[in-house]
């Protein structure tokens, strides 16, 4: 008769105790997995939404007159294009998705337009991520809605700006903003058109999503920029950045408040069940001691059962939690409907952590079991 054999037979005999224990682990794991799965999805969705909102950091020449900058929407000064090479090669910066930009207001076909030259995005070493924005090829242009309507431009149209010929790649849909009068082209083309070779007047960027609400991101970001590019300064689009951080923090807060309560409650639940189990089995423990079972084997009987409860509860909890996240997640985290998917790496973690958790919860009851005096329990009628 092996210990494992004894454990399984006891489980079958005292089904209710086992099922209640299993239920405790299952609920804890299911809640954790459902919150985590939906929370992860929420985080991914937040990132995507923020990406869609655009860059929230703008690096411009330090000498920029901010009054003029806000009136025009861009800096009247330029800086060397090499600045982005220098900055993008830094490993420990909190910036990402760096885009070298050159903007200017020009008169084209009797219409005032904003010409914006963009280079493909760059990421610091080791933090490569998919680009947030579309890439513009040299010789092509994206035309704002208002311009396309007024000048009857569409995909495939050829335009000439100050002697530079570009093919319209896309006529953009209405944005309701300044983008409707913007012509976007590759940075090289814009530099040719504006006769500003090797110059840019802005680096667009996004912060690293690594700041807590208590941090002052702008101070950190400016310090980092000063250390590398003292001739430039950073502007943060605060409402956008704060919305982003707050959304992320919301999910963390749910975890921080609810999960400890769930874990403590389930731990206590399992502990109480284990104590009840030990009390029920006093005489059985007594006879085993009388038959020569030592403390180690008695402990194994209880901890082994706890580990089995942990393993089964973790497996069932993972699948139920994932199903909950898939079914109810979109209702709780409104923006995550499409982003929720099973996080299988957490199945492995659940199978490791839950048995340890149940074993720890059952440890004191197991110790109580081995301290029972068999001479007393065997005497009881």
């Amino acid at each position: 008769m092996t210990i494992l054999n004894l454990i399984f037979k006891e489980i079958i005999h005292r089904k209710i105790n086992f099922i209640l224990g299993l239920l405790a682990v299952l609920i804890a794991v299911a809640l954790f997995i459902s919150f985590f799965t939906a929370g992860q999805a929420s985080s991914r969705e937040t990132t995507r939404l923020m990406r869609d909102m655009g860059f929230n950091l703008r690096i411009i020449p330090k000498k920029t007159d901010m009054s003029k900058f806000w009136m025009a929407g861009f800096s009247e000064h330029t800086m060397p294009e090499e600045y982005i090479d220098t900055f993008a090669s830094q490993k420990d910066i909190s910036y990402n998705h760096l885009v070298a930009t050159l903007q200017a207001k020009i008169l084209w076909r009797d219409v005032e337009v904003i010409l914006t030259g963009l280079e493909p995005e760059r990421c610091p070493p080791g933090r490569e991520k998919p680009p947030m924005s579309f890439e513009i090829k040299q010789g092509t242009a994206y035309i704002g809605y208002e311009l396309a309507q007024r000048l009857e431009l569409k995909k495939g149209s050829t335009i000439d700006i100050r002697g530079k010929t570009l093919t319209v790649e896309k006529a953009l849909s209405e944005s309701g903003g300044v983008d409707d009068i913007r012509i976007q082209c590759h940075l090289r083309d814009a530099q040719d058109i504006l006769n500003l070779k090797g110059q840019i007047n802005e680096i667009k960027a996004i912060d690293c999503l690594c700041f807590a609400l208590t941090d002052d991101p702008l101070t950190v970001l400016r310090k980092e920029l000063d250390a590398v590019l003292p001739e430039a300064k950073t502007i943060q689009m605060k409402p956008m950045a704060e919305a982003r951080a707050q959304t992320r923090q919301l999910v963390r807060n749910v975890f921080a408040v609810i999960m400890p309560i769930v874990v403590v409650a389930c731990g206590a639940w399992i502990g109480v069940l284990a104590i009840m189990n030990v009390r029920d089995r006093q005489q059985e423990i007594g006879i085993m001691r009388a038959l020569g079972y030592d403390s180690g084997r008695i402990t194994l009987l209880f901890l082994g059962k706890a580990v089995i409860i942990g393993l089964l509860g973790a497996a069932a909890g993972f699948f139920i939690g994932t199903a909950m996240a898939l079914n109810f997640g979109p209702g709780i985290f409104k923006v995550t409907a499409k982003a929720i998917k099973p996080e299988y790496v957490w199945l492995a973690w659940s199978l490791i952590v839950a048995p340890v958790f149940t074993a720890v919860s059952s440890f004191i009851p197991a110790m109580i079991a081995i301290t029972y005096d068999p001479a007393v329990t065997l005497r009881e009628e």
Binding site: M1, T2, L6, K9, E10, I12, H13, R14, Q283, E284, G286, I287, M288, R289, A290, L291, G292, Y293, D294, S295, R297, D373, P374, A375, L378, R379, E380, E381
Partner: protein, 239 residues
């Protein structure tokens, strides 16, 4: 074989100390059938548990087979108990979720594979050398001898009191112990079953085993080599 010298056992209780055994000096020879008599609370069970290496006396020494039990480590004491002592209790104490044969084999788990060989009893010494399969064979034989062959795969809850006690005797005999300690083994049985249980213990005694039986009845006295009367934790007289 069993020697108790100046054994005192005092239980510490909130309302004051209770002296369960008071200066017990006792020697029980190998192969003796000893009945310990006395009213409830006289210290019979305490005496048995002390001899069983399960209850450390407050003072004094207990030697079984020349082993001073309470100078041994807890682990060694458990091993000694598994190899040398069988138990029969008034309440049977069968494990409820195991069938009868599993209850009998339960004792097998605890005896070291070498012990029986080492003491020269070879393969006949059940638990010691029994593999799991031979353990089951031996348990079946025992159950057959005790008239429980048809009950081997029944749960304790499906057995009568007499059958349960016979199953408990089979478990006690499984490791071929040197001593059987029986605490009121007939207390829950009708006269026929009581006689049958005492008969099995007597058989063990005749095969060379030592029996120490605690009871407040008189049904075992005719089989006893010696009767010890306990009163308030002290031996009144013996022999």
């Amino acid at each position: 074989m069993v020697v108790l010298e100046n054994v005192v056992k005092t239980y510490r209780r909130r309302r004051g100390d209770v002296k369960a055994l008071s200066d017990i000096n006792l020697q029980i020879e190998k192969g003796e059938f000893v009945v310990v008599c006395g009213p409830s609370g006289s210290g019979k069970t305490t005496l048995l548990m002390t001899i069983a290496a399960m209850l450390q006396p407050t003072s004094g020494s207990v030697c079984v087979e020349q082993n001073d039990l309470y100078t041994m480590s807890i682990r060694d004491r458990a091993k000694f108990r598994a190899e040398n002592i069988g138990f029969v209790f008034q309440m049977f104490h069968l494990v409820p979720y195991l069938n009868i044969i599993e209850n009998v084999v339960l004792a097998c788990r605890c005896v070291s594979p070498l012990s029986a060989v080492a003491d020269g009893k070879g393969g006949q010494q059940a638990g010691g050398v029994a593999s799991r399969d031979s353990g089951a064979v031996k348990a079946n034989e025992l159950l057959k001898q005790l008239g429980l062959a048809k009950r081997a795969f029944h749960r304790p809850s499906e057995l009568s009191a007499g059958e349960k006690q016979r199953a408990a005797i089979a478990r006690a005999l499984f490791n071929r112990p040197k001593i059987i300690l029986a605490d009121e083994p007939t207390g829950n049985l009708d006269p026929d079953n009581a006689a049958s249980v005492i008969g099995y213990l007597s058989e063990f005694h005749h095969s060379g085993g030592t029996v120490i039986l605690a009871t407040h009845g008189t049904e075992a006295e005719q089989f006893a080599d010696r009767i010890i009367h306990l009163h308030n934790g002290s031996i009144d007289n013996s022999g």
